[in-house]
């Protein structure tokens, strides 16, 4: 036997035996006879619940949830019909999704109140949840949420997009409970174009206009909420949870501290 390679083989054998033993982190709960996949992690006085954007599995929060789990109990999940969760009944509007989220949390014995964190389309969903179950909500963090004025030209057969106008109407009608800490992260970094074609340049130009319009809309909405805060980032585009996870974690931390009454460092 070659001595140096024996050492290498020993080390790699130990690694090879360790790697497959890592247990899957996500769990399944049954809600109304349907399987919902969720990932519960961390410990703390507060419970943070993550709501994904359109079509994304819970792995969307992969860069945020591990860090947030250091100071709070965290829950991410696959909405019905997304990732590994079973399909749910239609229509897939905000009220349906808020109801299913509450059922899931109850089934998993995760007690309220919750700090809800919603990205993109998850933003309107957590606003509807807060409107429907105000006593269950301790705080809201909206991560570059879908604006109320959004419209869909082609739903492309996606049930949640087909119900988008209803969801946004429900979000507009939902009142944010008084005194609730609300933070909205507005990501305004433009689409970067490494080697642009004409189509991409047009996309960039239109994207910039949309970003400006969204910022105005966010500010107007927050004006109606006492204590509502706006965090603007120029270092991230729409996917803040991937591009700038540390900002999302820091924002959640602020809300958790506020809710639990701990002083910030």
């Amino acid at each position: 036997m070659n001595a140096p390679l024996v050492i290498l083989a020993t080390l790699l054998s130990a690694l090879a035996l360790y790697l497959p033993t890592r247990a899957p982190a996500s769990t399944r709960v049954i809600v109304d006879g349907r399987t919902v996949r969720m990932l519960v992690a961390g410990r703390g006085d507060a419970t943070v619940v993550f709501e994904n954007g359109l079509g994304g599995p819970l792995e969307h929060w992969g860069k945020v949830q591990p860090d947030a789990s250091r100071f709070a109990r965290t829950v991410s999940y696959d909405r019905a019909g997304v990732g590994l969760s079973d399909e749910g009944p239609r229509p897939r509007d905000g009220r349906r999704i808020a109801t299913e989220l509450r059922q899931m949390l109850r089934a998993a014995a995760i007690a309220p109140p919750y700090i809800l964190v919603g990205a993109s389309l998850g933003g309107p969903y957590i606003r509807v949840f807060a409107g429907m179950y105000p006593d269950d909500v301790a705080g809201l963090v909206l991560v570059d949420p879908t604006p109320d004025s959004s419209q869909v030209d082609d739903a492309a057969g996606l049930p949640e997009l087909e119900s988008l106008s209803d969801t946004l109407e429900q979000a507009r009608a939902s009142r944010v409970p008084t005194g609730l800490p609300v933070v909205l992260i507005d990501a305004v970094a433009p689409l970067y174009v490494p080697f642009a074609t004409e189509a991409i340049r047009t996309l960039r130009k239109n994207g910039r206009r949309e970003i400006e319009a969204e910022s105005v809309e966010y500010a107007q909405w927050l004006d109606q909420i006492p204590g509502g805060r706006l965090v603007v980032t120029t270092r991230s585009g729409h996917n803040v949870a991937q591009e700038q996870p540390e900002l999302v974690v820091a924002t959640i931390r602020q809300v958790v501290d506020e809710v639990t009454g701990r002083s910030q460092r």
């Binding site: 070659n2 140096p4 996500s26 599995p57």
Partner: protein, 548 residues
């Protein structure tokens, strides 16, 4: 026997009746599978991978039936059967009988397979029939006229087959309807004309051979010799025996992969990139195909490269090499270095073309969108995005090199069953991949992520086996080579691990798979990708083979 033509055809039948029976069997099985699969499925569904595979094998076996040659002088190289020259028939009939029989057979076979194989395709049946007939003529003409090229004819036949495949696709390329020059009628006429010319040349070649004057006919065969002579020649003496052997190996086998990659780039990728220049999605697909080209070609080339002599089926170490003042370690190290040089040159050829294509006529829209995503995932850093692009190229080069050297252990051992088994394993994997539709594997895993667990354990067991085998295989190799190769292994593995982690970081956001398990799978695969045990085994195998 009623006549000489009947006798010629009877001989083909007698020699290959077992293969014909297999073809018939495959055809029957294929049609039965088709009936079973299409039962209760309305509409125009595409043929299944299994049916396609059975059809492909049946057509390939037909070419084995009409491999109308005899072995010459124990060289293991087929040529036009000389014994037939004494028959009382004209040379035209000698040549025409197998050609016409081959065309008839392939058209009959196509008639039987036409329905399942052409379902859902855009190419019309008569056009395919003309191309198949032309392929038979080109095939027989090439193996008869290029007899001096030996096994190199396989490459020529491969190029002909690829070229005809591209021709078959031309009419369906956008924009449609196709322009007159690439309409089915024009191309069919062109191919028929070229086939007629090939037939006439083959006839003239055989007639000359028969008359005993084949000097001119050898010109085509000696073309390859001329190319070898025209390539750079070294005049200065070599500094070391190892340097001399490197040069010898390079001239014999190292140059093949770059030449093949250049051929595919010029004959296939370049024309397709021009024809598909309007669609950004096509650009992306073709770019992926182009990047895969050296890796895919390294599979068959690597099998030939791993033998002591590239163009020979004999696995014994030639006396010319065996008597060199070099150890088995030196000889294997030379092979490994030649493979590396071959891979680097192949990728340089490919990347030079890609650079020209991207900057001059490519539609960059899809690529630009992908680059935007990479930018966003990695802190909007240009360095990160270009770093990932560089890692992809390095990983491609490593995989190409892996396939070049991973069969040295069996090829240099001189043991034919071992070598054939090793080569057959590639074919088994490819065929199994087609038969079981390997493209569905990610979907199968996503349906139930728990399925990843046994795969992880299998990979872990393979990793353990490989590295303990490596510790055994390298026991007799000099420390100098071990140190040098270990640095290569470490650098290559680090590059693959880095790329794997980058890819995992992007992919895990979109896949509902357990992130830790997915990362474990990536790590295990990266640790196995660069060969270690195989290269060590090659040395001991060659040492035994050399002194037999």
């Amino acid at each position: 026997m009623q006549g000489p033509t009947a006798a010629l055809l009877w001989e083909i039948w007698r020699q290959h009746r077992s293969i014909v029976a297999v073809i018939a069997g495959l055809t029957v099985v294929g049609r039965l599978v088709e009936v079973l699969e299409t039962q209760g499925q309305p509409g125009d569904i595409g043929s299944s991978p299994l049916i396609t595979l059975l059809g492909m094998v049946a057509f390939l076996l037909l070419f084995a039936v009409f491999n109308y040659t005899e072995s010459s002088d124990g060289r293991g190289v087929g040529r036009f059967p000389r014994r037939l020259f004494t028959l009382p028939v004209t040379s035209l009939r000698l040549v025409a009988a197998p050609v016409v029989a081959g065309i008839t057979a392939i058209e009959l076979l196509y008639l039987l397979w036409m329905e399942p194989l052409s379902r859902g395709g855009a190419t019309s049946a008569p056009f395919v029939a003309v191309l198949l007939a032309a392929l038979v003529v080109f095939y027989l003409s090439a193996i008869w006229m290029l007899e001096r090229a030996g096994s190199l004819r396989l490459l020529v036949l491969g190029v002909i087959a690829v070229a005809l495949f591209v021709v078959s696709m031309l009419p369906s390329f956008p924009p449609t309807p196709a322009a007159l020059w690439r309409s089915e009628g024009t191309l069919a006429g062109l191919m028929a004309g070229l086939a007629l010319i090939a037939f006439l040349l083959a006839w003239r070649h055989v007639a000359r051979l028969r008359a005993g004057g084949a000097r001119r006919a050898h010109r085509a065969g000696s073309l390859f010799g001329w190319i070898a002579e025209a390539s750079p020649t070294r005049r200065r003496p070599f500094a070391t025996p190892a340097a001399a052997h490197f040069w010898f190996e390079w001239r014999c086998s190292g140059i093949v992969l770059p030449v093949l990659v250049a051929g595919v780039v010029v004959l296939v990728i370049a024309p397709m990139s021009w024809l598909m220049r309007r669609d950004g999605g096509d650009t992306m697909r073709l770019l992926l195909g182009a990047l895969a080209t050296p890796v895919v070609l390294a599979l068959p080339v690597g099998a030939a490269f791993s033998k002591p002599r590239f163009w020979s089926e004999d696995l014994a170490v030639p006396a010319f090499v065996a008597v060199r003042p070099l150890s088995a370690d030196d000889l294997v190290a030379t092979k490994v270095k030649v493979a590396a040089a071959s891979v680097v040159l192949s990728w340089l050829v490919l990347l030079s073309f890609v650079a020209a294509w991207m900057s001059l006529w490519a539609n960059l829209e899809s690529l630009s969108r992908l680059a935007i995503q990479l930018w966003e995932f990695h802190g909007r850093s240009a360095a990160a995005a270009y770093g990932i692009a560089a890692l992809v190229v390095i990983a491609g080069m490593l995989l190409t090199w892996r396939f070049m050297v991973s069969r040295l252990w069996s090829g240099l051992s001189g043991r034919r069953p071992l070598f054939m088994g090793s080569v057959a394993s590639i074919a088994v994997v490819v065929i199994a991949g087609i038969a079981f539709d390997a493209g569905q594997l990610p979907g199968w895993l996503l349906d139930d992520p728990a399925r990843l667990a046994p795969i992880l354990w299998i990979a872990a067991a393979a990793l353990i086996a490989k590295h303990w085998t490596a510790a055994y295989a390298w026991r007799g190799v000099t420390t100098r080579y071990l140190r040098a190769y270990f640095i290569i292994w470490l650098a290559g593995t680090t590059a693959l691990l880095t790329l794997g982690m980058v890819a995992w970081g992007i992919v895990r956001i979109y896949l509902p798979l357990d992130g830790d398990r997915l990362r474990s799978a990536v790590i295990l695969l990266a640790l196995m990708a660069v060969p270690l045990a195989r290269v060590g085994l090659a040395t001991s195998g060659l040492a035994r083979n050399r002194h037999r």
